[in-house]
Amino acid sequence: MKELFLILKRFSHVFLFILFESLALIILFQKNDYHRPLAVNALQRMSYNYYSRVNRLREYFALRETNRQLAEENARLRSLLRSAYRDPGKGFTPMADSGKLRQYEYMHARVVSNSVTSQYNYLTIDKGSDDGVAPDMAVATDRGVVGIVVSVSPHFSLVISLLNRDLKVSGRLQGSREPGTVEWPGRSYKRVVLKDIPHDIRILPGDTVVTSGLSSIFPEKLWIGFVEKYHIEGGSFYSVDVLLANDFRKLQWVFIIRNRLRTEQLQLESASGR
């Protein structure tokens, strides 16, 4: 008994190390998907406020770029106006927008903190539950997918970035119907990979990769990026390297996209036992 006690004492620091190291590893490997609850505590709120302030400064330096993007988007939106179309003539009446059911609602938000250097990147935006943001809403810019809201506080939301190895998004090549999986291999912040594309599909470098719309989160045909190169993986599937449309290092303004029919869709799907 006395010897046992001596051994314990002799190796006490090793036991102490094992104790704390296993504690850390348990916390680390407990997460199995990105929906693990992330506590928004007082410390974090403090850092959000700071980020907001730093960001105001950073925005100033990015004014030129932001202006350019806004001008581009204005032009794009103008081209969608009805006045930009010619009168189709007598045959059919122009489509009545008011008769359509609006499925997606957009709200803009500012990025207050962002990272691209980790393997599991997140960003924080300055709209929260008080503004109607809830987990599982899509986040994008006019250039394409950014991520998905994972948790909200009254004034901020935490968004899992597309540059996070836990996030997988359903995507496809524009012009084909075959969906694949878009994921980040954890290397460059400029590239993601589109997997599981059947090898009988024609791909050309420069082709646009868009969201497939096969989830209740992202609308269809939202940009993700452009094909850079591709190779066959696992026999009959292509693995496509995709150059991201967004520059994730310079994200400033994003939209939050709310799917108004999501609850209905999920209810139906769960009711039929899916």
């Binding site: 006490s12 620091h13 102490l16 190390f17 704390f20 190291e21 504690l23 850390a24 590893l25 348990i26 916390i27 680390l28 490997f29 407990q30 997460k31 693990r36 992330l38 506590a39 505590n41 410390l43 974090q44 850092s47 700071y50 980020y51 730093v54 903190s113 990272s115 691209v116 250097t117 980790s118 393997q119 599991y120 997140y122 935490l158 954890g186 290397r187 460059s188 912040y189 400029k190 290092r249």
Partner: protein, 168 residues
Amino acid sequence: MIRSTLSYSITFILMVLVQVWILNNIQLSGYINPYLYIMFLLVLPFEISFWILIPAGFLLGITIDMFMHTPGLHAAATVFAAFVRPGVLSLIAPGDGYDSSQRPHISTMGLGWYLRYVVIMVLLHHMVLFYLEVFRLTDFFYTLVRVLLSTLLTILLILITDTLVYRK
């Protein structure tokens, strides 16, 4: 005793704040990020007991984790760094051992000793951190490059901080 505990607590807070408020916001190339916060474990006194060192390492890591949304990752790396510190110190001990009145800084121990100490400690910490984050061996060399680049940057920052803050 109370005074030094207080001053180390302030060091702790400052290190964490500099890390999460400044360094995590500087994205140098998208590939590397310096982790200066590990310097807190390096400046602790030579004779500090394991019973304080390892819990302090855990506390440091888990605090950083809270800000970076990486629960457990930095904690695992800092606990490891805290565990190896006494071993590293005895490995590079000068011939006549350490004087308990001395503190581990350039001004007291000299640049040669300090460089050896910092390189070994930062490298070990970054290795555990980056490989645990990637958690696969397919990208072994790519991750190694990231480890080395970030290590270099962290060491540079530690040397600058030590020179500026811990002058005689």
